[in-house]
């Protein structure tokens, strides 16, 4: 609760955001998938997906048809798993679906909400569906709509709202009942760049200020890079990669290097690295140096750069690990080096 207490001697402010990371018990993963498979009438939508989603904001990435929607459906408890095991908030969402869904919020991808229903009525109704008493649901519906920037518009029928406003209504209904985990399916779909930035800021704020955990399903990699703490990348029904963004994006064997020295020394240092089998790309003093093969780790490159600098009389102005973007990871995991889909 945001309470400002004004004392006689002065003003003290207590803006406690509440327990961080939702009400998930400390140390408990939000979603644990072990070799999860799902088949529909012989068609395999997901197979052997293994990952863990920890508290925070997690991006669920994948191309259209990759299995994201199937996975969301299983997390909500709408579909049973065909193989493996899935735990959401410590429970099997299929057998304990009702109690799990009470603690979840969900914003669907589509925009066709009931057109003649007022936003406040819709959000209140969803909050009541999740078990809130009527008066509390009404208050929280207003609060949630104010939070997403629709306070003045809350009594408008949703059919008269723009796509951006409807996306905000969907977010409001997903959080009005104070869920532990919110699943947002393509929350920036149909938004212009400014609206998109605002929506991403909102989602980040909800997680940061109120400790609500978020799973953000998207096919836009930069969105996930911008606000997520972790990502699960799904491709063709498989888990291609998962983990924190720090671990995913920092696992390149390349390094950024900036030498300091005469042009001749720079040239000889880079030539030495090339002769050692390293891939050097760049111009002038700056370059990216990568190991001869992906099997080598970055330490080998760091050592080679250091040795080249010493041997050829160069100073090192900058030396850092080359991060990979999610796009790099996605392309690496999806395609072979020759560009053929795996």
């Amino acid at each position: 609760m945001c309470t400002v207490a004004c004392h006689n001697a002065g003003v003290t402010t207590d803006r406690s955001p509440g327990p961080m990371a939702g009400a998930a018990p400390a140390g408990q993963s939000l979603v644990v998938a072990q070799n999860v498979s799902k088949a529909y009438r012989g068609h395999s939508a997901l197979h052997d997906a293994t990952f863990t989603i920890e508290p925070g904001i997690t991006g669920l990435l994948g191309a259209n048809g990759a299995g994201k929607t199937t996975l969301l459906g299983m997390i909500i408890g709408l579909h049973s798993v065909t193989g493996g095991s899935l735990q959401v908030l410590g429970h099997d969402p299929w057998s304990a679906g009702t109690s799990v869904r009470e603690r979840l919020g969900y914003a669907p991808e589509h925009h066709t909400l009931p057109p003649d229903l007022k936003a406040a009525d819709f959000v209140r109704h969803v909050a009541e569906l999740h078990g809130l008493p009527k008066q509390e649901a009404q208050t929280r519906a207003s609060d949630a709509l104010w939070l997403v920037g629709l306070g003045e518009e809350r009594f408008r029928p949703m059919g008269t709202m723009s796509t951006g406003q409807r996306q905000r209504v969907k977010l409001a209904q997903a959080i009005a009942h104070d869920p532990e985990l919110v699943l947002l399916d393509e929350p920036t779909d149909g938004l212009d760049p400014i609206q998109r930035d605002a929506m991403l800021d909102l989602i980040a704020g909800i997680a940061k200020d109120f400790g609500i955990n978020v799973i953000l399903s998207s096919h836009l990699l930069d969105e996930v890079e911008r606000i997520c703490d972790a990502a699960v990348i799904i491709g063709d029904g498989h888990t291609l990669a998962s983990g924190s963004l720090t671990s995913l994006m920092g696992s390149s064997s390349g390094v950024h290097v900036e030498f300091d020295g005469s042009p001749a020394n720079l040239e000889s240092a880079f030539a030495a690295l090339r002769n050692g089998g390293f891939v050097v790309t760049g111009e002038g003093r700056r370059a990216i140096v990568e190991a001869p093969s992906a099997d080598h780790d970055a330490d080998l490159v760091f050592g080679a750069v250091r040795d080249a600098a010493v041997d050829h009389g160069c100073g090192i102005a900058r030396l850092s690990r080359k991060g990979r973007s999610l796009e790099d990871i996605f392309l690496e995991e999806t395609f072979t080096p020759t560009g053929v889909p795996q």
Binding site: T3, G131, A144
Partner: protein, 294 residues
């Protein structure tokens, strides 16, 4: 701003905050679904144009009852046989019942699928059976507005005019008959309308189908029995006729199907159960495999 007992002022910022109060569970979710669905179908909380049709239909169902109550107050006692019985009353309002069933069930089922609201419902504590239970209760309660409301009003008004059943025992028996009759009518029409509404996402198509199905079943059945001279058992395909005949027999009155070869009461009950529960089973079979848009 308010002042607490320590003399210090406090400002409460009424923004979004965490909630750790009680939650009502699945029962509360179903109750909310029923209430919201009923309000939605009646157009409450919606634009005026959404209220016109449901209220006009309900008024049409009540108007004859109000007229009969007024006439009963003016008629001398020896002419009260001219007033219709509780069972006969349905003959005056059967069209309103068709219209209401044809409007309500598609409004409650088709719209949720077309607007994707079904996906939101199924992401709440409700699952498919509970969702259908809530919707069925809502449709039945709405149907009772037109099947129970008018005869109950007549019973109460007649009693106040001293034309009702004599004695508490008769009165309770009549009340029981009225309740059972309205449930029989309401549940049959609600279930069949729900079955039709489960087939298409377009409410207008479902409404037109329901409005064609009820009188259509009566026409086909009458052709088979009266024109083609087939067995009276084919009357069991006559949905409104079958329901009305059952209501006559609940009230212990002579109905319309008294010829030899016409269905027995047991057959009527069986047919009613078949159509009602068969329709609900059909709805479940549709929703069990329904791919929910999310």
């Amino acid at each position: 701003m308010s002042t607490n007992e320590n003399g210090t002022a406090q400002i409460f910022d009424q923004g979004y905050r965490r909630y750790d109060g009680p939650r009502s569970g699945v029962g509360g979710s179903i109750r909310t679904l029923v209430t919201h669905s009923m309000r939605d179908a009646l157009g409450l909380g919606r634009l005026t144009r959404h209220k016109v049709f449901p209220f006009a239909t309900v008024i049409a169902a009540f108007l004859p009852a109000i007229a009969f109550i007024g006439v009963a107050a003016l008629l001398p006692d020896d002419l009260e046989d001219f007033l219709p019985s509780y069972a006969e009353y349905y003959g005056f309002v059967i069209a309103a019942i068709f219209l209401f069933a044809g409007f309500v069930a598609p409004e409650l089922l088709c719209k949720d699928r077309r607007t994707g609201l079904l996906g939101v419902y199924l992401a709440s504590p409700l699952n498919r059976p509970l969702y259908l239970l809530g919707k069925s209760i809502a449709v039945l309660l709405l149907m009772l507005l037109v099947t129970l409301g008018p005869p109950l009003l007549m019973l109460i008004a007649y009693s106040l005019e001293s034309r009702g059943p004599s004695g508490i025992s008769d009165w309770l028996t009549t009340l029981f008959h009225v309740l059972l009759s309205s449930l029989t009518m309401g549940s049959l029409f609600a279930a069949v309308a729900l079955a039709v509404a489960s087939v298409t996402d377009r409410a207008a198509v479902a409404t037109a189908t329901v409005l064609a199905l009820f009188p259509g079943s009566a026409i086909v059945s009458d052709i088979l029995v009266q024109e083609a001279d087939l067995s009276g058992w084919y009357r069991l395909f006559n949905l409104p006729g079958m329901a009305r005949e059952l209501v006559f027999r609940i009230h212990g009155e002579f109905g319309l199907w008294n010829a030899s070869g016409d269905p027995s009461t047991l057959a009527l009950v069986g047919a009613w159960a078949f159509w009602t529960f068969g329709s609900l089973a059909f709805v479940w079979s549709r929703y069990r495999k329904l791919l929910v848009r999310r």
